[in-house]
């Protein structure tokens, strides 16, 4: 399986994402600059964290206008897996690939620590290697991770099981319903504030994030091999 790790000016988790795929998972992966106009050779798209365009105007707003995002929308429409982490999640909401938006953390602080997540839906291509209800340790590092959407959108998210991860115990940012990660209705676009790529090896303090990437590969192998 061949992954693309998108790189915007200001991305800073691209190398961690690349490392997780190449060294921990042993799959093919390439960096793709934001002005790329073709993603057809890739089987999965990873939108990493960071501060694309310095978070100017709004997190993810300007990254959404770059060439490569038109290709990401195309890949999503084709059913390819698209994962957005942290700033990547913000970019996917700005792009309209995921509903809602990420607001300033309720306590106005940049939160950087390992948190416990609950797997709310393990019946997705991103979570099939987790147990339903499993508690996992994944780091967060964000100032604007406070997930917000209107009531109708929230009702839809619940009705379609689109809430994939919630914060277990303390909610670090004030997000609605403790939401940490959501998936689109079709089930191939996941956005999450916590960083699974930073929890890809025991030496990093947790290897709980690896199962997310393994899930993507497992699903792809079943469909393509």
């Amino acid at each position: 399986m061949k992954f693309a790790v998108l790189v915007f000016p200001g991305s800073n988790c691209d190398i961690d994402m690349y490392h997780a795929i190449k060294d921990e998972l042993g799959e093919e992966v390439e960096y793709v600059w934001h002005d790329a106009t073709d993603l057809s050779e890739f089987d999965g798209i990873l939108v990493p964290g960071g501060f694309s365009y310095g978070d100017y105007l709004r997190c993810g707003a300007m990254a959404n206008q770059s060439n490569v995002m038109a290709e990401v929308k195309k890949a999503a429409a084709e059913g390819k897996p698209v994962l957005g982490v942290c700033n990547g999640f913000q970019i996917l909401t700005e792009a309209g690939l995921l509903p809602g938006a990420l607001l300033r953390n309720k306590n106005l602080k940049f939160m950087c620590r390992t948190v416990q997540l609950k797997v709310e839906n393990n019946d997705t291509l991103f979570t099939n290697q987790y147990e339903q209800g499993q508690i996992i340790n994944i780091p967060i590092a964000h100032g604007e991770g406070n997930y917000y959407c209107d009531e109708e959108t929230l009702a839809n998210l619940k009705a379609n099981n689109q809430i994939v991860f919630t914060y277990s115990g303390e909610n670090p940012n004030g997000s609605l319903e403790d939401i940490a990660g959501i998936i689109n209705e079709r089930g191939n676009v996941l956005g999450m504030m916590p960083h699974p790529e930073r929890a890809a090896h025991e030496l990093l303090g947790s290897a709980d994030g690896l199962a997310l990437f393994k899930s993507i590969v497992k699903q792809w192998r079943e469909q393509h091999v």
Partner: protein, 82 residues
């Protein structure tokens, strides 16, 4: 040249933790009559010659980039200049 003043504000339904903190500071300073503070963005956009209708041009830019209408409202004022 036309100068357009654009105001982007958080929707009423969206909590504004920054505004809440500022209101708290004002209250500590004794301004207890302040019942709410909302923080938004102000943009001055200067537009050169265009064949486009100004309103539709500004609205388009606001909807596509300057405001995220999931969480924000916008309004603008047009100021003619020479």
């Amino acid at each position: 040249m036309t100068k357009v003043k654009i105001y982007v504000t958080l929707r009423e339904s969206v909590l504004d933790p920054q505004g809440f903190a500022v209101q708290g500071s004002l209250a500590k300073m004794g301004y207890n009559e302040v019942s709410d503070v909302r923080i938004g963005k102000y943009l001055e956009v200067t537009i050169g010659e265009t064949t486009r209708d100004l309103d539709s041009l500004v609205k388009e830019m606001c909807e596509k980039l300057l405001a995220n209408t999931v969480i924000e409202d916008y309004r603008y004022e047009v100021e003619e200049e020479n």
